[in-house]
């Protein structure tokens, strides 16, 4: 019985950690900058493809693919911010449409192998099909501690998510950069008036959030099929977590990921995944009715 409980909690915890991983980047781009970034899932997808391609061509393993995917996704995010989102700050609905367009564009780029398939050129690791990314053997062999079966890969994801959350907290609350970001979050005009370079800080923040999406992509690639539209479902989960947690609140994001993940896990075991998902959406609707700004949202802007 204890083992069964521990098992259910572990599944909930690992669901939470994946939700948090996706939402972390989003809570920064959406929370901090008021951009409804529909392309967030595609940045996750780019992270996953970076892992696949770096494994194929550079022989990089999971641990080396993580920083690389961070850089690649951050780079793509930075480019998107510079070219498109920069023009759209303060126009929240326009960012939704524009980033959705970016999402479609990125998906098709991967699907068409950057357009090379028009010329009949096939690049291994790209294209419309499934790709897979091997995880190191020692992360897929289970072992027992005190009678509990430990799943190393899931545990690794949980630990890494906690580390990234801590890093993000540190950056946001213990550095001068973070102070500037939080100032922009509260009131961009006032922040600019106080001498903060809003353009530059926003670009870096967006790139950081995108980079986190890339890291999430690598980790997801370890147990999901990697395919061009893998980001579509991911982005919905991300927004759920951020909206429930409260826009711009790191702690709220953490808490809502934990709660929603556990609810999902427990009900998936007790009933099934489809019912569990319906219950999660029910809880989300209820929470938003109760607290329209999310668990830890703040009002003014």
């Amino acid at each position: 019985m204890v083992h069964r409980m521990a098992n259910i909690l572990f599944i909930g915890l690992s669901l939470s950690s994946i939700l948090l991983l996706i939402a972390l980047g989003l809570s920064i781009t959406y929370g901090a900058m008021g951009v409804i970034n529909m392309a967030h899932g595609e940045l996750v997808m780019i992270g996953a493809y970076t892992a696949v391609l770096s494994g194929l061509y550079l022989n990089l393993n999971l641990f080396l693919a993580l920083p690389l995917a961070f850089l690649v996704s951050a780079g793509v995010g930075l480019a998107v911010e510079r070219v498109i989102i920069r023009q759209l700050y303060g126009r929240i609905i326009d960012t939704l449409l524009a980033t959705w367009g970016v999402a479609i564009l990125l998906q098709q780029l991967i699907r068409l192998e950057f357009g090379l398939s028009f010329f009949g050129i096939h690049v291994d690791g790209l294209g419309p099909g499934f790709q897979s990314f091997p995880i190191p053997a020692f992360l897929s062999e289970n072992f027992d501690i005190l009678g509990f079966t430990v799943q190393p890969y899931r545990s690794f994801i949980i630990v890494l998510t906690i580390a990234l959350t801590f890093l993000t907290w540190f950056l946001m609350y213990r550095t001068s950069l973070g102070t500037q970001v939080r100032a922009i979050m509260r009131n961009p005009q006032m922040a600019a008036a106080c001498g903060i370079d809003v353009n530059r800080i926003s670009a870096w923040t967006f790139a950081y959030g995108s980079g986190l999406a890339g890291v999430a992509g690598v980790l997801l690639a370890g147990f999901k099929a990697v395919l061009p539209n893998m980001g579509e479902s991911v982005v919905v989960d991300g927004f759920l977590v951020v909206v429930v947690g409260g826009v711009g609140s790191l702690f709220g994001t953490l808490l809502s990921a934990a709660v929603l993940g556990q609810i999902n896990g427990v009900f998936a075991i007790l009933t099934n995944d489809i019912v569990a998902r319906a219950i999660v959406f029910g809880v989300v609707i209820f929470l938003i009715l109760l607290r329209p700004n999310g668990l830890f949202g703040f009002k003014s802007r």
Binding site: I11, S132, R154, G222, A225, M230, S233
Partner: protein
Amino acid sequence: MKNRRQFLKESSALGAASFLAPSIYAGTAAGASELEVGVLFSLSGGLAMIEKSLSDATLMAIEEINAAGGVNGMMIKPILEDGASDPKTYNEKASKLVIRDRVPTVFGSYTSASRKAVLPVFEKRNNMYFYPTYYEGYECSKNVVYTGAVPNQQLSNFIPWIFKNLNKKKFFIVGSNYVYPREMAKVCKILIEQNGGETVGDEYLELGHSEWGAMVSKIKNSGCDVVLSNVVGGSVISFYREWKNQGMTHDQLPICASVTSELEVSAMGAEFAVGSYASFPYFQAIDTDANNSFVERYRKFVNDPMAPTHHALESSYFQVYLWKQAVEKAGEATPDAIREGIKGQVFDAPNGRVTVDPDNLHTYLTPRICQYKEDGQGTIVDEYSEPLQPLPYSAYGETSDDMYCKESGLDTSKL
């Protein structure tokens, strides 16, 4: 721009040709030396990866037939269309092929959704559709020739074999939540009951579901001793991976699958499927001269020395030959003549002898079971001694003595 212009030129020329011709079928209209057919698979979108291979296999068969002298002295000319992984597009393209191009036959479709979308076009216009994929049955059309397996051809050897050889009795059935896995589960349950076994679980996850933690844990705790999987697509990959990540092996609790082909295995990484079982009439591992030569020719045709072959791909290939024989037998290429000609048609396909059932226009196929190895290929551990009759209504009690789908049509009173 040039392509578009060329296309316009060609299609208007074609239109003119068929307008002037006395016969309504463009094949004979374009001159005695050419016979046009439609080839309709998704060349773009989410299903393109798999459907492209079916399209290639069809084109390869056409090329081979042409190289050997064509059909009744006429060259087959394929008109390639793209269903774009979208049933609505499928319907439009099928209409275009049937109404504007006036082809007497179209080869196409992978998913049931796309087949259902084009079915009204072929039935209303009385044209012929050749469908190469294993599917859920429950269909009886004068206008479709089905060359993939129906549930009884994938399961009626599989389940008794599991009882006898793996000595397993408690089944957990898991599938994606749509018509094919649900119909398969119905047949499974009938067979499990007949063999004196027990179904301890019957669960479905949405199509494309990729978070298998809870489900695998549930299967582990269900007390089952074998898992029967009707999971399709990307979900297969996350399912098998999660299986191993939760410390399960196919030795202790094997996954027996109806949809996990060589394609899915190579995508998930072969180490996750080692020891699991699958049931199809065709595997790349069939070690006969006919099949080895087929695999080699296919790889050469698509210019990829590692290209995997699989059941629906092989059916896409041999159904063109069945069609050719039907046209030759009938002497003319009209849909009615082809339908009459195809009945009872026999062909030696890479998987062995296949025969079209004259009643339900489905195909006799040889059920086989394989166990996957480290290299992503299967070892064939069991095969029927002879091709098995297709029974599209086996989930509803159809047997070979009491067929529901006859030449005269579907006997709905039995359903």
